[in-house]
């Protein structure tokens, strides 16, 4: 197995062994999954995106896709990118959206050793002497408000806001694949009118639509990850966040439809994925935000340059 295969295999094994319903439920009550966090450190994921690791940055984003598959209840994107930007292996780094007083939507800000604030403009700052007000997103993931007394501006060569948006793209791609798998399994097992509901054409069409949307989302996500070293990274992230976000709207809705009332219960695991999808599509720019950015750029190139822009090599 090649290096990438080994890395993703390890991530898959650790996440699948530990991210069960009980752990996800516990995390939603505010319990930090310490043991899993320890395993992630022990297995070297903590510093994977750091320059010193000499691992190409794309690998970190592929690991995030795996994290999405299992709804990993840890701020892995923030740990990976935070350590990279600060170039130090902090215990727990949190990254939120920068505002006048500090940062909003900070995952696990309450436990963070360091908090980084990223603005749409690309400005990045390390917050100091901060106080935290706890909050959650609609998936029950900790998203805290951090008010800081001091701010240290960071000079990064990375496009920080786009990288954060890409992290949500990869998480969504993984979660979308999982939602499709869960749905396929459910429609094969659930019987009504004396047969599995997968035998009904109406259900088959729902599943076909979901499969197509998931395939498009995954392809879009992979393309954006591949573009990370390229000069149109920002634009590829824009395209991916838009396309994947659109898939989320379709796939989450249909997944719940085919799961019936079972999928609407707290006891079923489906909502851990669909609620995260609904939350992540809004984080670091909605579809509309990125569509406007991408469309403004393309319109600026002019009608006769449109095809040239689309006919990219990679």
């Amino acid at each position: 197995m090649d290096t990438r295969g080994l890395l993703l295999d390890t991530a898959t094994r650790i996440f699948s062994d530990h991210c069960d319903k009980a752990l996800l439920d516990a995390a939603e009550t505010g319990e930090f999954p310490e043991r899993l966090f320890g395993l992630i450190r022990e297995n070297g994921f903590h510093g994977l995106a750091m320059t010193a690791s000499e691992v190409p940055l794309i690998e970190s984003f592929l690991v995030l896709k795996v994290a999405g598959r299992f709804a990993l209840p840890l701020p892995l994107a923030e740990i990976l990118l935070g350590n990279r930007w600060l170039d130090r292996d902090d215990r727990l780094i949190a990254i939120g959206i920068g505002d006048a007083t500090g940062a909003r939507n900070v995952p696990w800000g309450r436990l963070a050793d360091s908090v980084v604030a990223v603005r749409e403009s690309g400005e990045v700052a390390l917050l100091g002497d901060f106080t935290v007000t706890e909050g959650t997103n609609l998936a029950g993931e900790p998203r805290d408000r951090v008010v800081a007394d001091s701010v240290e501006s960071l000079e990064l060569s990375d496009d920080a806001f786009s990288e954060m948006a890409l992290s949500r793209v990869m998480l969504m791609a993984g979660a979308l694949e999982r939602v499709l798998e869960l749905s396929l399994q459910y429609v094969g097992e659930r019987e009504q009118f004396g047969r599995p509901i997968s035998r009904f054409q109406a259900i088959q069409h729902h599943m076909a639509v979901m499969a197509a949307e998931v395939a498009a989302a995954v392809r879009a996500a992979d393309a954006a990850a591949q573009a990370i070293e390229g000069d149109r990274f920002f634009l590829e992230v824009a395209a991916a966040k838009s396309r994947v976000g659109e898939s989320v709207s379709v796939v989450a809705e249909l997944a719940h439809q085919v799961h019936g009332a079972m999928g609407f219960t707290h006891e079923h695991q489906l909502h851990h994925f669909t609620r995260r999808l609904w939350a992540w599509r809004d984080e670091f720019g909605t579809e509309l935000y990125w569509q406007t950015a991408l469309g403004s750029h393309v319109a600026g190139l002019g009608a006769d340059a449109l095809w040239e822009f689309i006919a990219t090599r990679g």
């Binding site: 694949e177 499709l180 798998e181 396929l184 429609v187 094969g188 997968s198 035998r199 054409q201 259900i203 088959q204 069409h205 599943m207 076909a208 639509v209 499969a211 197509a212 949307e213 998931v214 395939a215 498009a216 989302a217 995954v218 392809r219 879009a220 992979d222 393309a223 591949q226 590829e236 824009a238 395209a239 991916a240 838009s242 396309r243 659109e246 579809e287 509309l288 990125w290 569509q291 406007t292 950015a293 991408l294 469309g295 403004s296 393309v298 319109a299 600026g300 190139l301 002019g302 009608a303 006769d304 449109l306 095809w307 822009f309 689309i310 006919a311 990219t312 090599r313 990679g314």
Partner: protein, 380 residues
């Protein structure tokens, strides 16, 4: 689950792209039809020019006039032609599926006879699958071909055969054995010479005002014995093997492309946010669809038969082609129906909208494609 691998087009394909663009620039007078639909422009002279450049039958062996180039190179040529609105209809079916079918199942004599003419852009094919009572349920065809001493005697009616009134040959799916419990048995593919064999071709006007598709009547039409493609009775396997070629190409998501081009032109470089967002949304769709289509070209290049992946690209692509005119019309507050600045947009928008019902019908309806995908998911 279907995998669409990330593929970077080879350098050779990008080099070819430059040559195609140069050629298209030199042919500017033949371009600019009101839309980018692959059925719109039937221009034998243009097809001959393309053949002269080696851009028809590009992946086929040199022995039959091909260029032995990769599916990626073919992909680049086809997408450049469509994006520019080039009149590709005459050779399209022959290049896309009739030729590959003959290469795979045809006799040596058939390959030698038809393929070189196709690659020169002089020999055009149509498809004869549907019938008055056979649409999506293709195995229900009733047109018969009966073996006689002098050849095969064909009786029945074919329908929706695009360009049959101006192309040279038709590959018809016919029943060569009576229907049995095995619905897929007893079908064969047979080549009909549309100008010599005596089949009656009647053009049918479509709702967009075009006259592309046809009804073909076979009344005791006799064709020589050597027109059967492959083994008699193997028609179903052969027909389904064409589908990956038929369903995955850029013509499945670029039919409405010119609408976007003219929309961008009309809103200008400083588009207001509402318009910009729609452009961005459409571009995001196009980038993903194109990459998926290139992934399928990669599978074809590896000799795979990606039927399910092709169905998936076509299903997504056709829905996008229909969505695009709907998206852009609501992205401006200006009255584009009565405004000089929007006149080019209005023309391509109207034309594409009128053609759009066909997008999710031709080459396998949306419903059939969803069935193929569901089968690929193991649900049926």
């Amino acid at each position: 689950m279907q995998q669409f691998d990330s593929i970077q087009l080879p350098e050779s394909a990008e080099q070819l792209r430059g040559e195609v663009r140069e050629f298209l620039t030199s042919q500017a007078a033949r371009l600019s039809p009101p839309n980018s639909d692959f059925t719109t422009g039937h221009d034998p002279e243009f097809s001959r020019l393309l053949g002269g450049r080696g851009w028809i039958g590009m992946t086929w062996p040199r022995a039959y006039g091909g260029a032995e180039r990769s599916f990626f190179e073919r992909y680049v040529v086809t997408e450049e032609l469509l994006a520019a609105g080039a009149p590709v209809s005459a050779h399209w079916i022959a290049d896309r599926q009739s030729g590959p079918l003959l290469l795979r199942f045809g006799s040596e004599a058939q390959r030698s006879r038809y393929l070189p003419g196709i690659t020169r852009g002089e020999c055009f094919f149509s498809i004869g699958m549907s019938e008055p009572n056979t649409g999506s349920d293709l195995a229900s065809v009733r047109t018969t071909a009966t073996k006689e001493v002098e050849g095969w005697r064909i009786n029945g009616t074919k329908l929706w055969s695009t360009d049959a009134h101006r192309n040279h040959f038709l590959i018809a799916l016919v029943r060569t054995e009576p229907a049995s419990d095995n619905r897929h048995a007893g079908l064969s593919q047979i080549i009909v010479d549309l100008r010599e064999d005596g089949a009656k071709v009647r053009p049918i006007r479509n709702m967009a005002g075009g006259q592309d598709f046809n009804e073909i009547l076979f009344d005791e039409v006799l064709v020589p014995e050597d027109r059967i493609i492959g083994e008699p009775g193997n028609g179903w396997q052969q027909v389904t093997s064409e589908l990956a070629y038929e369903r995955s190409g850029p013509e499945r998501f670029l039919s409405a492309f010119r609408v976007l081009v003219e929309f961008v032109r009309a809103v200008g470089p400083d588009a207001e946010p509402r318009a910009a967002a729609v452009v961005g949304r459409a571009v995001a769709h196009l980038l993903a669809l194109r990459r998926m289509s290139i992934s399928v070209a990669g599978m074809l290049e590896q000799g795979k038969s990606p039927d399910v992946e092709a169905a998936l690209v076509k299903a997504l692509g056709n829905d996008f082609e229909k969505l695009l005119p709907e998206m852009v019309r609501l992205a401006t507050l200006e009255d584009f129906t009565n405004n000089d600045r929007w006149s080019d947009f209005r023309e391509v928008y109207s034309d594409t909208l009128l053609l759009s019902p066909s997008f999710t019908l031709r080459g396998g309806t949306r419903e059939i494609l969803r069935g193929v995908i569901a089968r690929g998911l193991g649900l049926r």
